[in-house]
């Protein structure tokens, strides 16, 4: 883990107010985004991957709030800013969105407004920071579309999103995220809604742009294959907690957490004997308002230590280090 991180999330906790009471969506989440590196974030639906992304940009829904922790931009430098201390509506926070941190969305169909042209939405993003004027912005929009691998960008710039295919729309989404020239990108399941061939093309594009521009990329996915192909480091999340954090190679070769092991076992293997049943994780993700006591994974954990795992949660992964949040490892030390 070379290079100083551009963004460090430290012990972040987010809660949502609901009719049934408050729901803790994130609990002591720490992670680092470093220039030129890709951090893969994996986990089942509802584990807090997207909430983390939204919390970083301070665009949580109105009923959600950051209750603890820090989000440090440029940590350790004189320019260090704690984003949790900023007003989400402030000029400073708006300057972070788009210009420092770009966001790529899951749903290319609904993430773009159908009422404005691609160019209109893209030019708006370009002019939001350091407005270069209308005609220059339009030229830049065309360049961005070309960089995102869209053929005939001069005509596509005037097309409406519903006139483009899913793959092209996701390329527009990438161009949009890059419009403010950010050095950090968060891609929230960028390929989930696409077919497999398009998925591969989009991932290749993301990888190329990320390398060329030396961007720190946070790639949120539930696809282990995507992580293996793209990421340098990975964070495994379960019910709002990071349960394992390590370089990808380490995780795939020697997973530390029982949940990570279970996830890896459930990936289909081409070399498996025909008709062999795919391994699954027993049970289902608990409702967020019915969090199990202790380690949230203990009811589904095959290696649970009763009287221990169900009493208090294990210590979170130490920030900036590789490790897992599990009593098995604490005991081993």
């Amino acid at each position: 883990m070379a290079d100083r991180p551009l963004l460090s999330v430290r012990e972040l906790a987010v809660e949502f107010r609901a009719d049934t009471g408050t729901v803790r969506a994130l609990d002591s989440v720490s992670l680092d985004l470093r220039p030129g590196r890709v951090l893969g974030v994996v986990g089942e639906s509802g584990c807090g991957k997207s909430v983390t992304a939204r919390a970083i940009l301070r665009i949580l829904d109105r009923n959600g709030a950051i209750v603890a922790g820090k989000i440090l931009l440029d940590p350790g430098t004189t320019a260090e800013v704690d984003l949790t201390a900023l007003n989400p509506e402030s000029q400073a926070m708006r300057g972070v969105r788009g210009a420092r941190v770009g966001l790529i969305f899951q749903e290319p169909m609904s993430a773009l407004s159908m009422q404005y042209t691609v160019g209109n939405q893209l030019i708006e993003a370009i002019r939001a920071h350091n407005d270069p004027g209308k005609s220059v912005a339009r030229q830049r929009a065309i360049e961005l579309l070309r960089d995102a691998g869209i053929p005939r960008p001069e005509t596509r710039v005037d097309a409406y999103p519903f006139q483009l295919s899913g793959g092209l729309r996701q390329r527009v989404g990438i161009a949009l995220a890059l419009a403010g020239d950010p050095d950090i990108l968060i891609a929230d399941e960028p390929t989930t809604a696409l077919d497999v061939t398009t998925q591969a093309q989009i991932l290749t594009l993301l990888r190329r742009l990320q390398r060329d521009k030396h961007i720190a990329l946070m790639l949120i996915t539930h696809d282990m294959g995507v992580i293996a192909q793209m990421a340098d480091d990975m964070a495994v999340m379960y019910l709002g907690r990071v349960v394992e954090y390590a370089p990808v190679r380490e995780v795939f070769h020697s997973p530390r957490h029982p949940y990570t092991r279970a996830l890896l076992r459930s990936v289909p293997d081409l070399r498996a004997t025909p008709r062999q049943r795919l391994a699954t994780i027993g049970g289902a993700v608990p409702q967020p308002n019915a969090r199990p006591s202790g380690c949230p994974f203990h009811p589904r954990c095959p290696e649970v230590i009763l009287g221990r795992c169900d009493v208090a949660p294990p210590a979170p992964v130490p920030p900036g280090e590789a490790g897992a949040s599990c009593f098995l490892l604490e005991d081993a030390v």
Partner: protein, 330 residues
């Protein structure tokens, strides 16, 4: 796109023809005809005409011809702007409706303007700040507005306006101007009389519109494109106005169809209570008096306004909704 417009126009004309047939049927529905009514009228004043004279009159008016022919004679005159003579007023229908039509439209447009300028901002606020104190107040006032009958509010406002503000209430003109020719003084007098009925008419519509806008916008605010726009780093207000509000306005374009006939008729009950010289009470009177040419003209006008309103809202929707414009469907 051109095909879409042409199809709409064709459908609109067909509907208009159907409406005219229906109107004619309504005019002809009561037993007897204009001559019978005329004879009855003469009899009541003591004079009479012979059966031969009556036949001659029927022939002059074309009433002895087959119904189909009569319809075409009637519609031919209507197309030339001759709507016949009001039996009750003994004047051409166009004259009777004339001034009232403009006054009705003035009051209705004022009410509509008031409705939109009040309801849209409050509706947007209510949705963006859902479950805030302001939202609850708007909701409460909105439901009150929906629940209070218009005529009751008209009576209450008339009382307070007269008792405490010394306003001359009722009607659209003060007594001294009612029969006057148009002048600046008369126009100013009218301007002073319009706000009260406009407020009364606007109330229920405003309450309803706040609810609709709030619901529409709440749906749109949840959509991912709002997050996309926010993530660009542009201001919150601008994001909301440019994206979700724009999308939430679409249903309003469709609602124009229902507003249009209302613009012409005004509200009958409120007009009666406030003594407004609008088209609404005229329709009521003409129906009571079986003044069929007058009633028929108003009914025809309302029907055609509905068709025109629908056509306009279709075209408007096409103009503001690119998906409809370019693909012909949503």
């Amino acid at each position: 796109m051109l095909m879409y417009i042409l199809r709409r126009l064709l459908l609109a004309s067909i509907t208009c023809v159907a409406i005219s047939v229906l109107t004619f049927v309504i005019i002809r529905l009561p037993p007897g005809d204009f001559i019978d009514a005329y004879i009855a009228n003469l009899a009541s004043t003591g004079s009479s005409i012979t059966a031969d004279q009556a036949e001659a009159m029927r022939h002059d008016y074309g009433l002895d011809r087959p119904v189909i022919v009569q319809y075409f004679l009637w519609i031919a005159r209507v197309v030339q702007g001759d709507f016949g003579v009001s039996m009750m007023w003994r004047r051409p229908v166009t004259e009777v409706i004339g001034d009232r039509l403009w006054l009705t439209m003035l009051v209705s447009f004022s009410a509509l303007f008031l409705t939109w300028t009040i309801a849209l901002p409050i509706g947007i606020y209510s949705a963006v700040k859902q479950y805030s104190v302001g939202d609850y107040i708007a909701t409460m006032v909105g439901f009150l507005g929906l629940a209070i009958p218009n005529f009751l509010l008209a009576l209450i406002l008339m009382y307070f306006g007269f008792r405490y503000l010394g306003l001359s209430v009722g009607g659209l003109f003060s007594a001294e101007y009612a029969q006057e020719a148009w002048s600046w003084a008369k126009a100013w007098d009218l301007a002073k009389h319009v706000p009260l009925p406009a407020c009364v008419l606007a109330l229920a519509g405003t309450a309803q519109l706040i609810r609709i806008m709030r619901a529409n916008l709440l749906d749109e605010l949840r959509k991912p494109y709002v997050v996309t726009a926010k993530a660009k780093g542009i201001g919150n207000l601008r994001v909301i106005l440019k994206y979700p509000v724009r999308a939430a306005l679409n249903p309003f374009a469709s609602s124009i169809a229902y507003v249009f006939p209302y613009l012409v008729s005004g509200s009958i009950i409120v007009s009666l209570v406030l003594g407004l010289p609008t088209v609404g009470p005229l329709l009521l009177q003409s129906l009571v008096a079986q003044d069929m040419y007058l009633a028929g003209t108003i009914v025809l006008l309302l029907g055609i306004m509905t068709v025109v309103g629908t056509l306009i809202s279709d075209l408007l929707l096409m103009w503001i909704e690119p998906r409809l414009r370019l693909t012909g469907r949503l």
